[in-house]
């Protein structure tokens, strides 16, 4: 069984966010405010739980003193639910994991409706065996569903990976390198490998 994350693992969320902020910018919102509002829209009071939606982003932009027309901006933002952000090679990677006989489960944390729109817009959903949408707490989710078969967990978020490994020592946790985050030392201490390409991750899976 392979749990595979969506954002920044299969999907270039960095570019997606850039395009979101560019849309706000075309409506007169300074870029730094658009990015700050995005951070506020993502955050919840619970650690590693996320709740980003376009509506929350617009509300956060407004709370920072910017006036935008929700209806017009929302229409443009909804146009971003496309497959152009899927990392090159991601679909082939999933297919190769399935060919090895693994059940591939897409496990993504965030606002379920929003994540579903993003995943379905990307087209990734039709290639995996199952999609799972949770607000956060991947470590607990994996623990509660642990079975005897070999389990892999592929994800870019080093912090989530450390928690998954600590809570589920038998799970093979693999970190997909996220160029915007550096978890090298903390992952090294727990012997969690980091790879930047799908080929490297595939090679690890078939040899473990």
């Amino acid at each position: 069984m392979i749990y595979i994350d969506f954002d920044m693992t299969l999907y270039n969320t960095e570019n997606f966010v850039k395009d979101i902020c560019d849309i706000f910018h075309t409506h007169g919102v300074p870029l730094d405010i658009a990015y700050e509002a995005k951070e506020r829209a993502v955050a919840t009071d619970v650690l590693l739980h996320f709740d980003y939606t376009f509506e929350r982003h617009i509300a956060a932009v407004r709370s920072l003193g910017q006036d935008v027309d929700q209806k017009i901006v929302l229409k443009e933002l909804n146009g971003l639910f496309t497959n152009k952000y899927v990392f090159a090679g991601a679909i082939e990677f999933i297919a190769s994991l399935k060919e090895c006989g693994h059940k591939v489960i897409l496990l993504t944390a965030g606002n379920a409706n929003f994540q579903r729109s993003k995943v379905q817009g990307s087209g990734v959903n039709v290639h995996v065996h199952q999609e799972v949408y949770i607000p956060g707490g991947k470590d607990v989710y994996v623990r509660e569903r642990m079975e005897k078969e070999k389990t892999f967990f592929i994800n870019d978020n080093g912090r989530e990976n450390v928690l998954v490994k600590k809570m589920n020592p038998d799970v093979e946790v693999i970190t997909k390198l996220n160029p915007t985050k550096n978890y090298a030392h903390v992952l090294e201490e727990l012997h969690i490998p980091i790879y930047s390409t799908f080929d490297e991750i595939y090679a690890y899976v078939i040899t473990h």
């Binding site: 009071d45 650690l47 450390v162 600590k166 550096n182 978890y183 030392h185 903390v186």
Partner: protein, 244 residues
């Protein structure tokens, strides 16, 4: 874990993050903690210092490097007890300084203070009328009452008249248009006037409140706290009252 729980007992954001990270990771170096929490080292040290000052975290040296370790979570209870003691002490200090604070507060009486009320909070004007009259000892207020607004204003406080009478507070009303009724401890006079945007005005000790309808036909209001404005409105009202 819900970070807001730690924030409730005074943890700054970064200290809460580092504390939870230490609980999750076990003994860790600053470098590892900074990476894990996505903070720079300076902020991580600041957060650790805050935690050390409250005896929630300690450190030991391993191969000349500092490793931080979280104390038993029971320490959080001790922190809450200390915070409670601190708050009790602060409350006593505030009690001692109250006359000084009130002197400063009252000195601000020269400039008007405006408060705005939404349809959800409009009822607070009515409770303020009763409270202010009661506290000031001036057990009468005045209103310009208008049809259409009256119903909106009192719909969330239907027992207002009973509460007013119970406190012995009288009201003198100039009704613009028709409607309204006497409920006790009240006098009412009528004035003919027409307006497409009527406003219900309450004049009470040191304050005036203006209530009108928004575009959705809901009551919204502004209350101005200023003795000068209140007294001027009172004078105009009383002069008009005599002519009706």
């Amino acid at each position: 874990m819900d970070i807001s729980l730690l924030k409730k007992i005074g943890f700054p954001d970064k200290s809460a993050d580092v504390y939870l990270a230490l609980l999750q990771l076990g003994p860790s170096s600053v470098r590892v903690l900074a990476e894990f929490c996505d903070l720079n080292r300076g902020s991580t040290y600041d957060a650790l210092k805050w935690l050390q000052d409250r005896e929630l975290v300690s450190f030991y040296k391993k191969a000349s490097k500092q490793h931080f370790v979280v104390e038993h979570p029971e320490k959080l209870k001790q922190l809450i007890e200390k915070e409670q003691e601190g708050l009790m002490s602060a409350q006593k200090e505030i009690d001692r300084s109250m006359s000084e604070l009130l002197a400063v507060y009252n000195a601000g009486g020269n400039r008007p203070v405006a408060r705005y009320f939404t349809p959800d909070t409009i009822m607070r004007i009515l409770t303020d009328v009763l409270d202010t009259c009661e506290v000031s000892g001036e057990l009468m207020y005045r209103v310009y009452s208008v049809d259409g607004l009256r119903e909106q204003l009192y719909k969330d406080f239907p027992t207002f008249s009973d509460a007013r009478i119970g406190k012995g507070i009288a009201v003198r009303a100039i009704a613009i248009g028709e409607g309204g009724e006497l409920r006790g401890l009240d006098e009412r006079k009528y004035m003919k006037a027409s307006s497409t945007t009527p406003t219900y005005i309450i004049i009470y000790p040191g304050k005036t409140a203006y209530i009108s309808l928004n575009a959705k036909q809901e009551a919204v209001g502004v209350m101005i706290e200023n003795i000068g404005i209140s007294e001027t409105q009172k004078g105009i009202f009383d002069t008009l009252w005599e002519t009706l």
